[in-house]
Every structure is written in C-alpha cells, then in structure tokens.
C-alpha cells in the first residue's frame, strides 16, 4: 500500500488489489470510530481508499503508515443482504456468449456466487459487487442505453451492479429486483454499503 497526497486535505491509499482495499476500508472506518483518525469521508474504490477532509494530512499519513489492517476481521464481520432476483435481462444471451456457456449456466453461476460490495459510486446507492472471477469480465455496451430501469441487475468489467434508480447505463442487463436499494429515510440510506456480502437469490 502506498499513500499519495491529494490536494491540501486528503490522502489516497493506493492498494494491492480489492482485498487490501476492503481491509483498509474497514481499518480506517474502525480507527475513525475509535477517534484515532479525523476524516469527513473515507471512500473505497476499485484499487484505492480516499481519505478526505483530513485536518493534517501529513501527520495522518505518518500514523496510517504505522497501522496494519486486519483483513480477517473485515471478511467475517460483514452483514449479508439477499437480493431477490428475476433473471430475465435482455443481455443474458450476450453474457452467455462472452462466457462461452448457455443462459441457464450464466443464471446458475450468478445464483451461486457470493458477492461483496467493493465500493459505491456512479449514483447514490449504486454498489460495485465483486465475486466473479477476472476471466468472466464482460465489456460494456458500445452504445449505452438511454434509460435502464431501477432495480436492473447488470454486469460490466469484473463487477455486478444493481441500478438503484432509473438512469442511462452501459452495463449488460441480466435480471431485476424489486428491492429498494436507496431510501433517504433509511439509516443507512443505501441497502448495499461497502463490505456488505450479497446473494442474488430467487424471489
């Protein structure tokens, strides 16, 4: 892990892979709750953790460099959310072709996979789910759809994701869910928060 300064008030932890991202995300959230770290935002992403709104980034970087995240704690503590999913996405045949299998095999694979929320982005409550092996990565649509309905379960790159609200989108659609993924009156407002384990189960 390498720490890069970002502007006057932030640090970027450049990690070696998603497991280290999750370990550092959990460690930094724990340290902040314990009062060891002052930060407004701790934002995990694909290969980094951003720590923003830090009063003294140089001092914080020195402290963080001395910490060792406990990856085991991060993987066993997480809550599991079961997402009732109907597998009727328009792009299932395209995914099957990319994977070199038939559509029922794609569905079976998605049903069996234990996903984890690696990070959120793109839209409030949009979670990037890891769990599929790298060799099953799929490309985005060359021309994004102008409107993808809320609840659409989709794949892009190595990730699965669920659109919390209707929006334009280029991910390959494999199914849909009625589960509400973002509700400003809920605490937390996002159903799928970083670190959460996710199963795409039959309704």
């Amino acid at each position: 892990m390498r720490i890069r300064p970002v502007g006057a008030h932030a640090l970027l932890l450049d990690c070696d892979g998603p497991e280290q991202v999750e370990a550092w995300r959990a460690e930094l959230w724990r340290r902040r709750a314990a009062g060891d770290l002052s930060a407004v935002e701790i934002v995990p992403a694909a290969a980094t953790v951003l720590v923003d709104g830090v009063p003294d980034p140089a001092a914080a970087a020195a402290r963080i460099a001395g910490w060792t995240p406990d990856g085991a704690v991060a993987t066993t503590d997480a809550a599991e959310v079961r997402v009732p999913t109907v597998y009727d996405g328009a792009d299932l045949p395209a995914v099957a072709e990319h994977w070199g299998v038939d559509v029922p095999a794609v569905v079976e694979r998605l049903r069996r996979t234990e996903f984890r929320v690696a990070f959120c982005g793109f839209a409030p409550g949009f979670a990037y789910l890891t769990g599929l092996p790298a060799e099953l990565a799929v490309p985005r649509l060359a021309t994004p759809r102008t409107r993808v309905p809320a609840g659409s379960v989709a794949l892009a790159g190595p990730y699965a994701g669920i659109y919390p609200t209707a929006s334009p989108g280029g991910w390959l659609l494999v199914g849909r869910t009625d589960l509400v993924l973002f509700d400003v009156h809920a605490d937390p407002p996002a159903r799928l928060t970083p670190g959460t384990r996710v199963r795409l189960v039959d309704p």
């Binding site: 502007g7 006057a8 935002e41 951003l50 959120c120 982005g121």
Partner: protein, 297 residues
C-alpha cells in the same frame, strides 16, 4: 412562503451541502461559494447552515407572502423591491412603489413585496438568504439541490412555491459589506497529484505555464477548461477512484476539468492535480482566463 414569479436560467436551493456520504455515492453538493451564502445568512440573522437560493446569471423574481429580511451576496446585480399598497392612494398616483435595493446588506421587505433580481453585470452566481431560511424537507441532512444525482428539491420553476422557516435571530446591524470584485482572470493554486505520473512531464508544465479558458459547458459539476491538451504517458483506463473538490481530471481529449460541488464521488480518468480553492470559479463566465501556479508561490 415564496412565490416564484420568474425562476431564471438556474435557481436552486443550496446550503452547506451533504458531506459524509461519499462512500455511498452521494455527492457533497451545496453552494458553489459556501462562504458567500454563510455571509448572506449572517446578514439576515440566520444560522450559517440555513438554506438559501443560488441564482445563476439571468436573475429571478420572487414574491414574499409575509414580511421577511433578505440579503444577497455574490455577483454584481441590480435589485429592485416592488410593493403594491393595500389601498390605491386617493386621487390615483402610482399603484406600485419601487425602490432599488443593495446587495451585501439586509433588506427589509413587507408582506406581499416582490424582489426583482436583475441579470449579473459581473460574475455569474448570487446567493439569497431569507430570514428563517428556505424550509424545504432536508435530504440526508441538507436541503441542497444536487444537479448530478437529483437529490434535494428540483431547480426552481415559474409558479413554484417555497416554504420559509421562522426567523431565529435579528438581522445583523450592518449597513454594507464590501463584496470582492469579480476578477477578469483567475490564478489558482494547484497541488500536483495524485496521478501526475499518468501524464508526460510536459503535461504539468503545460498546465502551470499556459492559459486556459472557461468553457461554456461548465456547470455545478465542474468547470471545463479549453486550452493546451495534456498528453498522457500511460494509456488505458484508471480503475475508478474517489474524487475531491477541486480535482483536475483529464478525460481522453486532454482538456482538463475542475470538479465543483456537484462532482461525482468516484471517477475513472486520472487527476493531474488539485486546486486549493475553487470558490472563485463560481463567478467565472465562459471565456474567463484561468492560470495555475504551484502551492509554493
């Protein structure tokens, strides 16, 4: 209650934004110049975090159903207060009283008064505080309109009505505050990184030594710049990573973009540097010249 007679090009409810939710994909949002809105709030006796209006370029017209104190900060604009007397004066006479108002000081408006805020003579955005604050329902601790995610109230439309809260304090005993003049060109302090190594060594030199112009495609999400394209040393896509306010992101066309309050929480184009203070960009019209300098000067 405020009745919106003319909403203008883009008038939104803003406050100090909703920080602390970036890990769920929720942008910070809030006034593009938070200090200018805080000043307007202090002038009318509001707490600094109260919600006001951010008015863009073309002004707007508002009618207040009850007596309020208002204050306007930001761009250079003409202000007119109109009041229709309850009874027509005997023997006719003007049926509407008009008086000019000032920016940067509390203005006391009687019930039923109309506030006409003209187009910006210099700068782009004004912030209007109303005693009691704009009392729309908060979303995740903020009443700000986020133009990227759609959180918060929609931008104002002609005919819309906005609730106003109860005043919590007296207006500030201030006759006038001096507004900073809108500069012809901006000179912004920039700290390189975190991804300057994705660019050639010439790229940072170009950014620090050549002038850029504000593009008309700029908005609350970001100030887009036009000028020398910044050449990349590393091809391909950067895995998405967290973004900060003021991040200078460089898309494939090489034209930098400085992220403002409604910026996305993560992005996949490399950030060559971060601007220390983005608030001057709130007043930068298309065509305004922007230059950068390192933090040491």
């Amino acid at each position: 209650m405020i009745e919106v007679l003319r909403a203008g090009a883009l008038t939104t409810v803003q406050d100090q934004g909703r920080p602390g939710w970036a890990h769920l994909g929720v942008p910070r949002s809030g006034a593009l110049d938070p200090a200018a809105l805080r000043l307007a709030n202090r002038l009318v006796g509001n707490p600094e975090h109260a919600a006001g209006l951010e008015i863009t370029l073309t002004g707007c017209e508002l009618r207040f159903t009850r007596a309020v104190t208002v204050a306007l900060t930001g761009a250079e604009v003409d202000v007119l207060v109109e009041r229709r007397p309850a009874e027509t004066p005997p023997g006719g006479g003007p049926s509407v009283e008009r008086r000019p108002g000032d920016t940067g000081r509390p203005l006391s408006l009687p019930a039923g008064a109309t506030l006409r805020i003209g187009p910006a003579r210099a700068g782009v955005r004004s912030w209007l505080a109303v005693s009691g604050g704009i009392a729309v329902e908060p979303v995740l601790g903020s009443r700000a309109t986020d133009t990227l995610s759609g959180l918060g109230p929609p931008p104002l439309r002609d005919g819309a009505r906005l609730p106003v809260g109860a005043p919590t304090g007296p207006p500030a005993p201030v006759d006038l505050t001096v507004a900073p003049a809108v500069p012809a060109g901006l000179r912004l302090a920039l700290r390189p990184g975190p991804r300057q190594d994705w660019f050639t060594s010439a790229a940072l030199d170009l950014l620090l030594r050549t002038a850029y112009a504000i593009s008309p495609a700029s908005n609350r999400v970001g100030a887009r710049l036009a000028g020398a394209a910044l050449p990349r040393a590393v091809a391909g896509e950067l895995p998405s990573e967290g973004l900060v306010l003021g991040a200078v992101q460089v898309p494939p066309d090489g034209q930098p973009l400085i992220f403002l309050a409604d910026h996305p929480t993560t992005g996949g184009y490399p950030v060559i540097g971060v601007v220390d203070d983005v608030t001057p960009l709130a007043q930068a019209r298309p065509g305004t010249t922007v230059t950068f300098h390192g933090p040491q000067r």
